[in-house]
Amino acid sequence: MKGTGALQLTHIQAFLLFAVVISIAFGFLGRRRPKDRVKYILWSLLLFLVVGIGIGWLMYPFSR
């Protein structure tokens, strides 16, 4: 992915950055105990990755 900004990320890097940051925020806002937070962050991150990559593959046949 080419860009003109000072920060140039590939698609997967931008996707991972977004998923990690949002998952951490959701975990801390949604749960109180540290153990619950870690579980929620990991679960949220997994869902972000699975759904994001899944939607990407679903769109693949229409990309050409």
Partner: protein, 160 residues
């Protein structure tokens, strides 16, 4: 005597959180609506502070972990979005989508101005990076509004 003073023994937050959603109107405290009004004003102050400075709403309630996480996650998204030259909407938008984008970007509070200062050369959405940057900026704003709402509810004793 403390047992008779409702201020000395406030009800635990868990009991409020466990209150069913379909319950009737909340009971009026024994000392009238003054305490409720003060708590409501404080909650609004917390919400506005949390919107203006990401994490401040939680910091005012000594929720340090949440305050730091909100500050750094919103800041990270704003910095990434601006450095990727995402579109930072202004009040001079031409259509409803620009207006919605402006509202979302304003959700970052003071970080909106940080993003403007980082984008010295303006937005460039001709590349995918700029388009992703636009989403990062909007997400940062919405995330901060969500955090401010969370701080507001916590200040009202509804959720923490």
């Amino acid at each position: 005597m403390d047992e008779l003073n409702p201020q000395a023994n406030p009800p635990p937050q868990e009991s409020l959180a466990a209150e069913p959603a379909a319950s009737p109107a909340p009971e009026v405290p024994a000392d009238g609506g003054a305490v409720d009004s003060d708590a409501e004003n404080k909650a609004w102050g917390v919400a506005i502070a949390g919107w203006l400075v990401p994490g401040l709403g939680h910091a005012l309630q000594k929720m340090w972990g949440r305050a730091l996480v909100v500050f750094f996650t919103v800041g990270c998204l704003v910095a990434a979005g601006a450095l990727m030259r995402g579109n930072l909407f202004t009040a001079r938008g031409s259509d409803a989508f620009d207006a919605l984008g402006y509202v979302a970007d304003l959700g970052t509070g003071v970080f909106y101005f940080l993003a403007r200062s980082l984008e010295r050369h303006g937005a460039d959405v001709s590349h995918a990076g700029g388009d992703y940057g636009t989403r990062f900026l909007a997400t940062a704003g919405v995330l901060n509004l969500l955090a401010a709402l969370h701080a507001f509810e916590a200040a009202r004793g509804r959720k923490a």
